[in-house]
């Protein structure tokens, strides 16, 4: 078995653009952009019945986690904590949808554990809606947060993943 460096896998969800980014953050808060989707990758849930919305988002986001983990493994790293960060509630859906999806990942994925955050009015305003956020990982994440935001604005840093509808 290979020995891999434990890092955080961060998934940033842009609810308005219906797209996502996945990055690694190591214990020194070093950010490694990994993969991203084009706009509207998450939009197929819109106008679906509620249960189908939940099912689609679970499936699509777990595919994001798998791709992120694959890229980490390829770099000799492994996820020790998965942090999903949505910049708001999922749009064009009932407010409960975001909580239901967050609860699913936290309850279903225990190794590595998951924490789900939702941003408030500003990027600095982060609210944990599901999962536990250990202090050390939280500190490393907060330190990496500006670099994550900067990386998000440079699309060439990320491998583009075109998923099927």
């Amino acid at each position: 078995m290979a020995t891999r460096e434990p890092v955080m896998l961060i998934v940033l969800i842009e609810t308005g653009e219906f797209r996502w980014y996945a990055a690694g953050v190591d214990r020194n808060s070093e950010v490694t952009p990994l993969v991203r989707s084009p706009s509207n990758d998450l939009s197929p849930y819109v106008a679906q019945p509620y249960d189908e919305q939940v099912s689609f988002l679970r499936h699509r986001l777990s595919g994001v986690l798998q791709r992120g983990c694959d890229r980490l493994f390829g770099r000799g790293q492994k996820p020790a904590l998965i942090v999903l960060v949505a910049d708001g509630l999922f749009l064009e859906a009932v407010p409960e949808l975001t909580q239901r999806v967050a609860d699913h990942f936290v309850q279903w994925m225990t190794n590595p554990p998951v924490v789900f955050l939702v941003l408030g009015q500003s990027r600095a305003d982060k609210r944990v809606i599901a999962g536990d956020w250990p202090a050390a990982e939280r500190a490393a994440f907060e330190k990496a947060w500006p670099a994550l935001a900067a990386a998000q604005s440079q699309e060439d840093l990320w491998e583009l993943i075109e998923t099927r509808r």
Partner: protein, 185 residues
């Protein structure tokens, strides 16, 4: 079974398949399909030892594919993977699909490789068990034939005796095979 166990991976997302192929190609003979229909064609044309399929795909779901595969003569070791806990799909797959394992995304590559090697061992054991069953039936039939011949004319046809001895030898060989499933003893 060939030197490398043959694995068929089924997922409608080509980049997922590509990651898996990269992970597994050194240790397995890897086939890929982007739909259940394509998977059935590959199974019909190749000797597949392990079938690992995604659950949520357009058209045929993973559990439906497993059900169809189970209706065929040669059933590979079956693994279903999915990104979400859909209890109904698990129940369907277990009850109708002879499921070996249910795997969730994201998986650890070492764990997945280990799982597939365990599946390959399972497959080898099933092949030996099937041959053992067939040979035991053949041996018993020949034994009955011999008894009938001895009861009748009292003479045994040399060919029957030869076949019986051959069958006993093959049976003994299968009974001591390292791939024989010891749990059934």
């Amino acid at each position: 079974m060939s030197a490398k166990p043959a694995v068929l991976l089924v997922d409608d997302e080509p980049d997922m398949l590509s990651s898996l192929v990269g992970l597994l190609r050194r240790e397995f003979e890897v086939h890929t399909a982007e739909s259940g229909e394509q998977a059935l064609e590959i199974i019909a044309a190749n000797e597949i030892d392990i079938l690992m399929t995604d659950q949520r795909m357009p058209g045929m779901t993973g559990s439906s594919l497993l059900q169809k595969v189970c209706e065929q003569d040669r059933v590979p070791v079956l693994i279903l993977f999915t990104g979400y806990a859909d209890i109904k799909s698990v129940v369907d797959a277990v009850n109708t699909g002879q499921l070996f394992r249910y795997v969730t995304k994201p998986w650890d590559p070492d764990d997945l490789t280990e799982l597939l090697h365990a599946a390959a061992t399972e497959r080898r054991q099933r092949v030996v068990a099937d041959r053992l069953d067939a040979e035991a039936s053949q041996c018993a039939a020949l034994g009955r034939d011999l008894v009938d011949q001895l009861r009748g004319a009292g003479d045994v046809a040399p060919i029957t005796l030869e076949r019986f001895v051959g069958s006993c030898d093959r049976l003994a060989e299968l009974c001591t095979s390292p791939d024989r499933d010891k749990t059934g003893e």
